[in-house]
Structures are given as structure tokens and as C-alpha cells.
């Protein structure tokens, strides 16, 4: 048995597809390829499938990683890549396939480009990130106010046509920070935020 890591994009209209819906579509994509996918045991067998770091609705990515398993007899990585690509829907392009004996390690952080629509210029915008950045985080059981400023690292700001773009690294895992909290913090200072996940760091 082998673990397969497939890197793919989720761009364009796929940003309107939730993580749960993507999982279902991905399962069907795997079944269409005819590749020797390993199924779970039990009454309702299905391919064992995992994603490195779920992506929220309205966000795009060029670096999603899915993990699934193959039976021993499997084609070379390049062929697997081609067969996945042949079945991929609009907005999904497979860029890499890797086999491994071990499971995918946990994802530590992700790099993003956040494109804001704002009337502020780069300096004024950047200043908003200088001090504390309190947001209300909701969990299942409670709400708490946390300062997200220390979680946003390696920031670089650039001017864009309709506002400002921010390149930054946000933590994954237990500390996971959804970029939507940055939009929440900025409130009415921005009219839109587009999220592109650029890189996952393991």
C-alpha cells in the first residue's frame, strides 16, 4: 500500500464550492480515473481521502494537497498525475503527484495573497496591521476576543488597481487562522477581500 499526495488548484468558480462538497467531488474524480484506489473496509466502502488543510468557501488556492491510498500495483507518478488531470473539473489543475510510505505530515502554516478592495493607500492600510488586532473568535461553545496580530507573519504590502494586496503567512494546525478574521478585523475599511492560498508548509 502507498500513500499518494496529489497537489492541485482550487480556483475560479470552485471557490463557491464548500470543503464538504469538494470532498464528494474528489471521491468521484478518483473513481472515474480507474486508478487502483484503496477502499475503506466495512459496509459502505469508499476511498480513504484526506486533505492537508481544508479551504473555506470563497477562498482559492494553487496548492491544495489531497492524500489517498493505492493498492500495491500502481502506475508511475507521472501517469497518475495525467489520469487525475484528465478527470478534473473546471478550476482544478493537478500540479504534482508524490508517493510515500508514510502519511502526510501535519501542515504547519500557509502562505496567502489577500487582495483587498479599499479606498486606503498602502501606508494607511499597512498602519492598521501595526498594533493589536482584536477579533471575536467563535468556537462551538463560546466566543472570545483574541489578538491576531502576532499570528500574521512575513507580511508584505503592495498597491493594486482597486486597493492593496497583502502577502503573508498564517498558522495552520491548532493555531489555524482563517484569513476571514483579517477581513472581520478590517470591517468597513475594506469592501472586499479575495483569498489565494499560495503555499502549504509542512
Amino acid at each position: 500500500m502507498k500513500y499518494v499526495f496529489a497537489t492541485f488548484t482550487k480556483t475560479g468558480n470552485l471557490r463557491y464550492i464548500s470543503h464538504l462538497d469538494l470532498q464528494r467531488a474528489f471521491t468521484r474524480l478518483l473513481l472515474r480515473t480507474g486508478l487502483p484506489i484503496k477502499f475503506s473496509e466495512g459496509f459502505n466502502p469508499h476511498p480513504k481521502l484526506m486533505f492537508a488543510q481544508p479551504l473555506s468557501l470563497f477562498q482559492e488556492s494553487v496548492c491544495e494537497v489531497a492524500e489517498f491510498r493505492f493498492e500495491d500495483d500502481c502506475p508511475a507518478e507521472a501517469e497518475t498525475l495525467a489520469r487525475l488531470q484528465a478527470q478534473s473539473p473546471e478550476g482544478m489543475t493537478f500540479t504534482k503527484v508524490e508517493y510515500s510510505e508514510k502519511k502526510l505530515p501535519p501542515c504547519k502554516a500557509a502562505e496567502y495573497t489577500l487582495t483587498f478592495e479599499t479606498a486606503l493607500d498602502v501606508e494607511a492600510f499597512q498602519a492598521l496591521f501595526a498594533g493589536e488586532m482584536p477579533v471575536v473568535k467563535k468556537t462551538k461553545t463560546r466566543e472570545e476576543t483574541v489578538d491576531i496580530a502576532p499570528l500574521i507573519t512575513e507580511k508584505s504590502f503592495a498597491k493594486t488597481e482597486k486597493g492593496v494586496a497583502l502577502r503573508c503567512v498564517l498558522p495552520c494546525g491548532n493555531e489555524y487562522l482563517n484569513p476571514s478574521y483579517i477581513e472581520q478585523f478590517l470591517g468597513d475599511k475594506v469592501t472586499d477581500m479575495r483569498v489565494m492560498r499560495e503555499k502549504l508548509m509542512f
Partner: protein
């Protein structure tokens, strides 16, 4: 589609995935270079529309035509509607994002009466006038079809052309006609006239309707020479040659029926007297196991679905079912594809077959006795004896099942209180049957689901009045009081919803003004609990001078001209009337396979007779 124009709207709706298209297997053509741009419109949510096999078939069928492009659109949920209106954007098609007002024709499918407000609302949201007479030749034609078009009259003022019967061949012919008319540059009037002369199409504006003083129909006549007095439904005669969409769009969202749906039969050999499907889809036709198997295999390959469901009005009447199931199981088990059969008939042999299939996936068992006593089952011609039901249940319990669902109806013609009590007694007998033997598990659950009888056009009960909704509510309570076991789970439908269904099912074109008025008042999604409002509807009827009881609660005369009489479904009015009389006499009629009852549907098969029972020439 390119969603940039809609990006800021989509951010504010609950399920943006409904409005962006891009599903695998969607059809892409260049609207600028095709001759004819059509959009198939489903007047309910995306999730329900994407589950509709008929729509998948017809969209695929039209897209097979060179130079014709058929896109899709679904009723926007009110949150999206509000966004569209706020931003002054029209409703659009999912493949290209083109506004619906720029199409040559919009094709609506009418699956249930309670979607009528959504049809009008979608026309309105496209920026088009609701009334057909207010739409010019430059605007898209509004075409409608589907089960409810067998009584198209409530929508007569709004729809330009109705397609009556099965659409695979007919709609392609209509598309061809519209293409020709477009090339020739003929007027809308001329196009409609030509369409009315194609078999299977009804153009409501070409008919004159007059009424008697008591409100009943006096006459229904073509306005122009050449327009047929009777519009005959279309059917497909060779089911193995009919188009089937092996490669249809794959929804991302969790839709209602998210699996490969394989049509096995059309029509039904039984003639349950309340059942509209049983009459309008006559005669019975089926596909060969070889054909179905090949289609199923190709569909699995193109979709990656892991379930196939066989669809049919009454699948156990398909004589080659065991053969088909064996063919399918030969490869589906290996590929870990599940197979599901609809299970609405009670029959021990069928239960065995189900067991075989269910070894792959176990799902609930459902039976539809429809009535609680043998007398009433005879009236409705549901040829099931109580013993059959009990034997099948016993078998199901022995096979390890411990839950089953029974469907019944309240308010059937001739129904007495003892028939209702009979439902409770039957359910109790089934519970007792379970406990008569020592069995493993947590005990049994028998779900009793009771709907309200809605008299439907083209059934032997089309003349009947629906019970007053207060009477229906009394009967629901009566049943409640007679169910004592906690093992019986009792569910019933809202009688007020059924009443509105009855009004529109038996309605005529005078209802149009109430519909238009309701839509202007913001009424929509009537099939959804959160939007249905009986009180609103009563006020719409009152404000537009319509008496709902005239339609729902009046017994129609046997010689009365009915609003849908001009449609020819094959089955004759004489046959329906004789069935009505047999119901009154509590006598049954055999199914088509046992004996042909000369209903008239064989005339649709071009002299060959029905496949269920070839009629001998005499």
C-alpha cells in the same frame, strides 16, 4: 461561466454553488455562433432540479443538435433573488451567465402545481413581462412541459407553447421549427400558429374559451383554421432507441438524488384510480436489460457515482427485472457500486430480489397500500390483499429488517371512518407480526405516512371533489386517536397544502389572474413550508374574485366540458368514466398484462398494440 459580475452578490448568499455552474460534464458551446439559444428552467432550487432525470434527458437531447445550445437555470432562493433585484441584475443561465432575457426560448418543466408561482417569478426576474400577450417577438418564447402540462390551463395566460407528452423527439422538432422561423424572420404570431400544428404542442392563445352562467366551461375552440381541436400527447415508442444522458452535469452540491438514475420503464400496467401517472403515461413500455446495463456502465464511468437507482413507476412489474439485476450485480459489486430499487409494491418474490440487491447496501423498505380496508382498496383499484401485505412484511422481518414505511391516503372517494381506522389496525397487525416471533434487535418501527387525496385530471377520479380541509383534518385526528402503539410513527401532510394543489390541478385559465397577483405580492416557493401560506392564498383568491371551492370541492358533472378535455392522452374519457362507475360499484379492473381493458392508449402505438398486452385486430 464567468462569475466576476456576480462575485459581490454571491458573497452574500447562503449557497453560492447553486448559481455558478461549472459542473463536470456541463455543455459548452459558443452562444454567438449557434443558431438557437435555449435555456431549460427548473422552477425550484438547484438541488431539486439537478435531481430531475427528465431535465437531464431533455437538456442532453437538445444539446446533441448541431447549432442548438441548451443551458440551464434554476429558481434562485430568496436570498439570491434579493441580491439580483438590489443590484438590478437579471436572472441568468449557469453555463455562460447570459441573462435569460437574451435567449430565443426558455423551457420550463412543471413537476408539481405548487411551482407555478416560481415559473412566473423566474420570468419576472428575467426582466420579461409575465403575460404572454405582453411579450414581443424579440423576447424569448416561454415553453412549458412536464406532468402538470396535462392540465396547462392555469398557466395559459403566461406560456406561449406547451409541450404535451414525452419531449425527446417533440422538443427537437420544436427547436427545428423555431430555428426555421428565426431564419425566415416570421412574426411571433406565425411561429405560434406553426407550432400549434406540430403534433404534441398546445398554443393557448389560439383557443377561445367561453363559460356558462354557473361558471363551468361552455366551449373551448380553436380561433383559427388548422389549429387542432384536440392536442394529442407525444410518446416514445422504442425505449431502447431513446436518448439517455450518460454524461450529464455532476453537481457539487448535495442534491436530492445524487446518483445514476436509470429509467427502466415508462407507464404502468396498473390502473390505480387516483393515480395520474398511471393514466397519462400509458401505455406501458420498457427498455431491454442489455440496453439498461450498457447505459449504466457508461454512466458510472463518466460520473464516478457509486450508486445506481433503477427508476420506474412500478418496478416489480418489469418482467425482466431478475435478469437485469443479475447483469448489473455482475460488475457493480466488484466496482463497489451500490444498487437501489424503488420498493413500492408488496410481493414476496420481489422481497427476495430486494434482499439480493440489499446485500450491497441496506436501505428502508416502503410499501404503498394507499387504503386501510379491502373495500376501499377495491374502490381505488389497488389490487393488494391484506394477506399479501402481511406475508411480505413477515418476510422482511425474517430477513432482518426492523423498520418499514407504509403510504396511505386520506379523503379518497367513498371513504368512511372505518377505512381510516383500518389504517391503524393494519399498522398494528404488522407490529404484532414482528413481536409474534422472538427477534434480535431493538424492536420494530412502522412508519405510517398519510397524504391527502387530490383529484387529478385524466384519472377516473377527475370528477370528484376533494374533502373539505377541515374534514381532512378531522380524519387525520381520527387516525391519530386510533394509533396506540408507540412502535407506529404517524406522519401526515398539511391538508391546506393539498387543497391548493387541488385548486391548481383542476383549475382553468381564470386562475391566471390569481397567480399573477400572488407573484406580484411576493408569493413563491409554495412547495416549501417556510413560504407556503394558506391565509395568503385565500386572500389572493378573494382579491381576484376566485372561489377555490369551485375547483377543489365541487363534484364535476359527468357530461361537463372539463378544462383539460382538449388534450388527448390516448386513454379515452369514456374509459375513465367507466372506471369511475366501477369504483362506485367497488369492482376492480385487471392490470394491462392480465387483460387489456381497451382504454384507448394502444392507438398511440401505431397499430401494434401495447407491449404489455398486444391488442389483436378484430
Amino acid at each position: 461561466m464567468n462569475t466576476e459580475k456576480y462575485a459581490h452578490l454571491l458573497k452574500h448568499v447562503e449557497k453560492p454553488g447553486r448559481y455558478v455552474g461549472g459542473e463536470l460534464n456541463s455543455e459548452y458551446k459558443d452562444p454567438a455562433t449557434v443558431d438557437l439559444n435555449l435555456c431549460f428552467c427548473f422552477p425550484d432550487t438547484y438541488e431539486i432540479g439537478m435531481s430531475n432525470l427528465g431535465m437531464r434527458i431533455l437538456v442532453g437531447c437538445l444539446n446533441q443538435m448541431d447549432g442548438v445550445y441548451c443551458q440551464r437555470s434554476y429558481a434562485p432562493w430568496p436570498d439570491m433573488e434579493a441580491q439580483l433585484l438590489q443590484n438590478d441584475l437579471p436572472l441568468y443561465a449557469l453555463e455562460t451567465g447570459e441573462p435569460l432575457c437574451d435567449f430565443d426560448a426558455l423551457l420550463f418543466t412543471l413537476q408539481y402545481e405548487l411551482c407555478y408561482t416560481n415559473v412566473l417569478n423566474m420570468i419576472r426576474l428575467s426582466g420579461l413581462p409575465m403575460y404572454a400577450k405582453d411579450r414581443t417577438g424579440e423576447m424569448p418564447l416561454i415553453i412549458a412541459g412536464g406532468p402538470c402540462s396535462y392540465n396547462p390551463e392555469p398557466l395559459a395566460d403566461f406560456v406561449d407553447i406547451f409541450s404535451i407528452g414525452e419531449g425527446e423527439e417533440a422538443l427537437c422538432e420544436l427547436a427545428e421549427l423555431i430555428r426555421t422561423c428565426k431564419k425566415e424572420g416570421v412574426s411571433k404570431e406565425e411561429l405560434l400558429y406553426r407550432a400549434s400544428r406540430l403534433e404534441g404542442f398546445y398554443v393557448p392563445s389560439l383557443y377561445n374559451v367561453t363559460y356558462n352562467e354557473d361558471g363551468t366551461l361552455a366551449s373551448f375552440t380553436p380561433r383559427r383554421e388548422g389549429v387542432p381541436a384536440t392536442v394529442r400527447k407525444r410518446i416514445i415508442t422504442d425505449m431502447d432507441k431513446v436518448y439517455f444522458p450518460e454524461k450529464s452535469p455532476m453537481p457539487y452540491l448535495d442534491v436530492v438524488h445524487d446518483r445514476v438514475m436509470m429509467e427502466v420503464t415508462r407507464g404502468c400496467i396498473r390502473g390505480c384510480r387516483f393515480c395520474q401517472a398511471g393514466m397519462i403515461y400509458r401505455p406501458y413500455r420498457d427498455k431491454s436489460p442489455e440496453g439498461i446495463n450498457a447505459c449504466a456502465m457508461a454512466s458510472i464511468g463518466h460520473t464516478g457515482y457509486s450508486e445506481i437507482s433503477l427508476t420506474s413507476l412500478s418496478i416489480s412489474d418489469y418482467p425482466r427485472l431478475p435478469e437485469l439485476v443479475d447483469k448489473l450485480l455482475a460488475w457493480t459489486e466488484e466496482q463497489k457500486v451500490g444498487l437501489s430499487l424503488p420498493s413500492q409494491r408488496i410481493d414476496a418474490f420481489y422481497e427476495e430480489l430486494m434482499e439480493k440487491v440489499m446485500s450491497v447496501r441496506k436501505s428502508g423498505l416502503t410499501f404503498a397500500p394507499e387504503a386501510g380496508t379491502q373495500r376501499l382498496r377495491d374502490v381505488i383499484n389497488k389490487n393488494i390483499a391484506e394477506d399479501d401485505i402481511l406475508v411480505a412484511c413477515e418476510k422482511a422481518f425474517d430477513g432482518g429488517r426492523n423498520s418499514l414505511k407504509l403510504y396511505f391516503m386520506n379523503g379518497l372517494p367513498t371513504e368512511r371512518d372505518e377505512d381510516i381506522v383500518g389504517i391503524a389496525e393494519l399498522a398494528q397487525k404488522i407490529v404484532d407480526l414482528f413481536y409474534a416471533k422472538k427477534r434480535k434487535g431493538r424492536g420494530v418501527t412502522v412508519t405510517v405516512s398519510v397524504s391527502c387525496f387530490v383529484p387529478k385530471p385524466f384519472t377516473p377520479f377527475q370528477w370528484e371533489a376533494q374533502n373539505d380541509f377541515r374534514e381532512l383534518e378531522r380524519k387525520q385526528k381520527l387516525l391519530r386517536d386510533h394509533i396506540t402503539s408507540r412502535k407506529i410513527d404517524y406522519k401526515y401532510h398539511d391538508a391546506k397544502v393539498s387543497r391548493l394543489e387541488a385548486v391548481f390541478a383542476k383549475g382553468d385559465r381564470r386562475l391566471g389572474k390569481a397567480l399573477a397577483y400572488a407573484v406580484e405580492k411576493g408569493q413563491k416557493f409554495d412547495a416549501w413550508d417556510e413560504f407556503f401560506s394558506y391565509e395568503n392564498w385565500m386572500s389572493y383568491f378573494a382579491d381576484t374574485g376566485i372561489d377555490p371551492a369551485f375547483y377543489a370541492n365541487r363534484v364535476m358533472g359527468e357530461t361537463e366540458l372539463l378544462p383539460w378535455d382538449f388534450i388527448g392522452i390516448g386513454v379515452t374519457k369514456r374509459f375513465l368514466l367507466s372506471e369511475k362507475h366501477k369504483a362506485e360499484a367497488e369492482t376492480t379492473t385487471p392490470d394491462c398484462r392480465t387483460k387489456c381493458s381497451a382504454c384507448g392508449a394502444n392507438t398511440l402505438c401505431g397499430g401494434k398494440g401495447c407491449s404489455a398486452h398486444p391488442v389483436k385486430e378484430n
